[in-house]
């Protein structure tokens, strides 16, 4: 569309108004957090919305050291990395099996996994909590890693299965004729071929695990992950908004960095979910 007609131009203008409002509503909280994280509490109370006058990094230092965000940060990193790694391995193995191998009841198993996609976390909280206690996994990072894996696995398996189902069968068949064992087919063919889907899953699951409050609150009660720790920065009666803002910026930073690194893969990965199942 090199030259838009007069009518098309008007339509474009009309469309751009809600888009601009949407964009602003996304950008404003970012500005708010960044701006206020640099103010001290007094500066914030005097002028909530204005641009920061005397920028200070005290809030970051205080959040990191005195409010224990450093340990919370470590907890988040360990559990997120652990869960995402486990999710990727398990979902690509399961996707390989469900999409490519032939075994009895594989359709039924796939349907059960699909069905479990539709169950919200909240519905199973009580039995989940009892199971965690029963297994002695309460207040352990391992427990949280396993919990994240369990809750995010159905979607991951679904995505890998549909992705692998879209690959030509002959790739696996050629490998089988050539004498590759199943586990070799997985490692040398399915994992590299599944890269785009695995990257998408890695990013999505990192986001879910990193931002989770609910599951973490239940499983890691006496240690806290970053998001829980930040939520706790809010006092019952008063909240130190600049301190909270600094915490939020610290928590968002790793995700933002990930996004910048994987920008291209994220955009192309969005289409991955649209492969036939």
């Amino acid at each position: 569309m090199a030259t838009a007609g007069k009518k098309e131009k008007r339509v474009l203008w009309i469309i751009s108004i809600p888009m601009a409002i949407l964009a602003l509503s996304c950008v404003y909280p970012v500005y708010f957090a960044l701006n206020n994280a640099l103010k001290d509490n007094r500066g914030y109370i005097l002028d909530r919305f204005g641009l920061v006058q005397n920028p200070t990094f005290d809030n970051f230092v205080q959040a990191w050291t005195r409010s224990n965000l450093d340990t919370y940060f470590l907890n988040s990193v360990v559990t997120t990395v652990g869960a995402v790694a486990l999710l990727l391995v398990v979902s690509s193995l399961a996707g390989f099996a469900l999409a490519v191998l032939r075994f009895p009841m594989r359709r039924l198993i796939f349907i059960v996994i699909l069905a479990s996609l539709m169950i919200p976390v909240q519905v199973v909280l009580v039995p989940f909590y009892q199971t965690i206690i029963g297994l002695g996994l309460l207040n352990t990072r391992t427990g949280l890693i396993i919990s994240y894996t369990a809750f995010f696995l159905p979607f991951s398996v679904y995505l890998m299965t549909s992705f692998y189902a879209g690959l030509p069968r002959e790739l696996v068949e050629a490998a089988r004729i050539d004498g590759a064992k199943l586990i070799q087919v997985w490692w040398y063919v399915m994992v590299p071929m599944g890269r785009p889907a695995l990257i998408t899953l890695g990013i999505l699951n990192t986001l879910y695990c990193w931002n989770d409050v609910l599951i973490s609150l239940l499983v890691l009660q006496d240690q806290r992950t970053l998001m829980v720790g930040i939520a706790a920065l809010r006092g019952e009666y008063t909240t130190n908004v600049p301190l909270l803002s600094a915490g939020i910026v610290l928590a968002a930073a790793p995700i933002v960095i990930l996004y910048i690194i994987f920008q291209r893969q994220i955009v192309s990965g969005i289409a991955v979910g649209a492969v036939k199942g």
Binding site: P168, A174, A175, I177, D178, K181, Q184
Partner: protein, 352 residues
């Protein structure tokens, strides 16, 4: 002893039968082509031999050993797929050595086999490239190279040339024929293209709807088809067919033209209807039976011309011609030797 033996092999997907009991013997070193229209079960049959598809019933023996339940890799076969099935993330060399690496062969053996296969297929320059950086013909050669390095007892090809353009297809066809001469392995080759079958095969197996219609050398099938299907499928342009009325034990009438068939062994029943078949290349004799047609189109291909015309009954006829091409709506007298006529009964079976 046959190297590969199929004994009443069947395949069904649930309630649908796809292969209806095929028995076949393939000798060591033979080049056998399965040919037939799309959907007739060629790939299914090949994949059952490869072990990619379960055999519903019957026995498959390779080298005298029953192979029905063996793993594909234990059958001594290598397969070249229509889609090439190259791994996009591996270099040409890694693609070719994949099987050897997976089965843990020593490094120098792998290197030696890959370089030998690469030199046979003229792939030396391309070993470091990825499949995406290759042309269709080169990819095809890599796929064949991957089969060669494993030095299998039997090569299986499933329509390996279908994704290539016409010119390249002819070229690769010659290369595959040469390859068979060099390696002398048993090869089973699937195609829907009768030209490929005719040019490559020691023996052709014509399949239709999961049944073997005829097995024979290319010339046997061409000269002596068992039925109208094989007669029509083998040869290009295809054989002309016309309704014929039997006027005597060895005489018929086609579109008002009386044809005597002195060589016929069977005595025909006067008054019955049969089907008369004659190949386009047999319609350009100088003398013999005269058959008038009205010309629709003449296709000039340089050395020969194909005349498309109609008989008095409206049935379509293609005739090969040398020399000047007739013009549309001309009436042309075709001549043929009655020994080239083939007769088929109402069920399409050959009357000899």
């Amino acid at each position: 002893m046959a190297q590969i033996e199929l004994k009443d092999v069947r395949k069904s997907y649930g309630a649908t039968d796809v292969i209806h009991g095929i028995s076949l013997e393939i000798e060591q070193g033979e080049f056998v082509v399965f040919v037939g229209p799309s959907g007739c079960g060629k790939s299914t049959l090949l994949r059952m031999i490869a072990g990619l598809e379960e055999i519903s019933d019957g026995d498959l023996e390779i080298g005298g050993k029953r192979m029905n339940d063996e793993e594909p890799s234990d059958r001594g076969v290598a397969m070249v797929f229509q889609s090439y099935a190259l791994y996009p993330h591996m270099s040409v060399a890694d693609n070719m050595s994949f099987g050897l690496r997976m089965t843990g062969r020593p490094k120098d053996e792998i290197a030696e086999k890959v370089s030998r296969a690469a030199s046979i297929l003229q792939l030396e320059e391309l070993l470091a490239r990825k499949p995406a950086q290759l042309s269709g013909g080169q990819r095809q050669r890599v796929a064949i190279g991957r089969a060669i390095v494993r030095n299998p007892d039997v090569f299986l090809f499933d329509e390996p040339l279908s994704n290539l353009d016409a010119e390249l297809r002819v070229q690769m066809r010659v290369e595959i024929a040469k390859l068979h001469n060099t390696l002398a392995n048993t090869m089973i080759y699937v195609t829907h293209d009768q030209t490929e079958a005719m040019t490559l095969a020691d023996r052709i197996v014509v399949l239709r709807a999961g049944i073997v219609e005829q097995v024979g050398t290319p010339l046997e099938l061409y000269e002596n088809p068992d039925n109208a299907f094989v007669a029509g499928f083998i040869g290009s342009p295809r054989m002309n067919f016309a309704r014929a009325k039997v006027t005597g034990p060895r005489a018929i009438e086609v579109a008002g033209v009386a044809i005597a068939l002195p060589d016929l062994a069977t005595e025909l029943a006067t008054g019955t209807e049969v089907s008369f078949g004659i190949r386009p290349e047999h319609l350009h004799a100088e003398t013999g039976v005269e058959l008038p047609i009205t010309v629709d189109v003449a296709e000039q291909l340089g050395s020969t011309t194909y005349v498309h015309g109609t008989l008095a009954t409206g049935e379509v006829v293609i005739a090969e011609r040398r020399g000047t091409a007739p013009r549309p709506r001309d009436t042309v007298l075709l001549h043929f030797d009655p020994r080239h006529a083939r007769l088929f009964d109402a069920d399409g079976m050959r009357i000899r």
